[in-house]
Symmetry: C2
Subunit: 223 residues, 2 copies
DNA sequence: ACCTGAACACCGTTCAAGT
DNA sequence: ACCTGAACACCGTTCAAGT
């Protein structure tokens, strides 16, 4: 052993999959999904666009690798010691914030659900559900529901963030939506009109966690 | 009144937004998201690609219109009379199956969450939550969680369906995945290995509905 | 007012040619 | 084994010209 795997560390010369993925992530974060082109990538890597194809089969594979890298990073950063419910909330928040910071990960997770990424999340939540004492036969359903909810809301939140003009503040944005809700047809949208005020004041992250708790309560009922 | 709005009915001549959207949906259903190009659309409509731009601003707007049309159709087809919990399950199943039959709707709902589509779903579920007697202050959170879960899982399910080779049966597919789960590293994936058998036998639609019930149970606890 | 279709700018991907 | 970069096929979108 000893210096056996030095090669994987610093290599300023030549391309490598890691280097390509790293620069792809930079591009995606800086300019969004449309910013990632093989031409832009090649320029930043000071090479020809064809060279990238030596290390990666196509763009879709590159996106999978990039989003796997983010999910793995987020999961690794998690502390390991917390009570089960608290631990699940931590995992949920990490993913929510990770996807919020890298919205393209969300899109990717949905376009081509990556098994490796999903498995990591599934496993972490599964262990906590087990620790909560959920019955053997309810475990699969409980974990599936939680994972789906957490990923689903995180991705929707990230997609929503890209929707509105970034010069508008969050408060202004909510105000605009709430005003639109209040102006809806009273016969067609009675309920939505009634909760418009709550829409104006709600906090997305808090609602997300409230939803996680709702599911956890439902799960706890079963055991 | 009387024959005042006849013009909106049959017009075999000339283009119209409705006609364009209709053909776009046919194309999307038949050949998937990549099949929708302005050139293919123009050919099917027997016109030039530029003509379409007279009726629709760009491709993104066309996708929004097409997916709104599907959601509206699905919501309209719903019966109106059922007990609240049953009604919510009906809405959930309609969306799940609608998105399963038109996977591109799912992708679209996430790429650019359409306010009109979301509002329709939010309103329908909201009325039922109100009918369940959920307290005023818990209503917004309850409906948000349900809508997020229902849309999220439906979209993920549709995306998963496009993943694997269509020649493989569902049972074969699950068997393959379960085998892969069982072969995972015992130290890194103890939980996932343990539930691999349940993965092999689970039914996606049933798990989806079980998740809805979990949330409904959590909601009912609060009131 | 509405349609036509060539033209433009820009992609992902391939591949013969190089080192 | 790995890199280069021109070439190919294919997009969305625009726009001068038509009716």
């Amino acid at each position: 052993m000893g210096k056996a795997k030095r090669a994987s560390e610093r290599r300023d010369e030549g391309l490598s999959l890691e280097r390509i993925v790293e620069v792809a992530i930079e591009l995606l974060d800086a300019e969004g999904e449309d910013g990632l082109t093989f031409r832009a990538l090649a320029t930043r890597l000071a090479t020809g666009s064809g060279a990238i194809y030596w290390h990666v089969a196509n763009k879709s594979e590159l996106l999978v690798a990039a989003s796997n890298a983010i999910v793995a990073r987020e999961m690794k950063a998690l502390g390991t010691r917390a009570a089960p419910r608290k631990a699940i909330r931590n995992i949920a928040v990490s993913l929510y914030e990770g996807i919020d910071a890298h919205p393209w990960v969300g899109a990717q997770l949905f376009r081509a659900p990556s098994e490796t990424a999903m498995l990591q999340i599934f496993e972490r939540i599964g262990r906590e559900i087990q620790a909560m004492g959920v019955s053997r036969r309810a475990q699969f359903t409980s974990v599936s529901a939680l994972v789906s909810y957490i990923i689903g809301v995180s991705v929707q939140n990230a997609a929503n963030g890209r929707q509105h003009d970034p010069r508008m503040s969050r408060a202004e944005f909510l105000k605009t939506i709430a005003a639109r809700w209040e102006a809806l047809d009273p016969d067609e949208y009675p309920f939505t009109r009634k909760v418009a005020a709550q829409m104006r004041e709600h906090n997305d992250r808090a609602e997300f966690l409230a939803g996680v708790d709702l599911i956890l309560n439902g799960i706890a009922l079963g055991c």
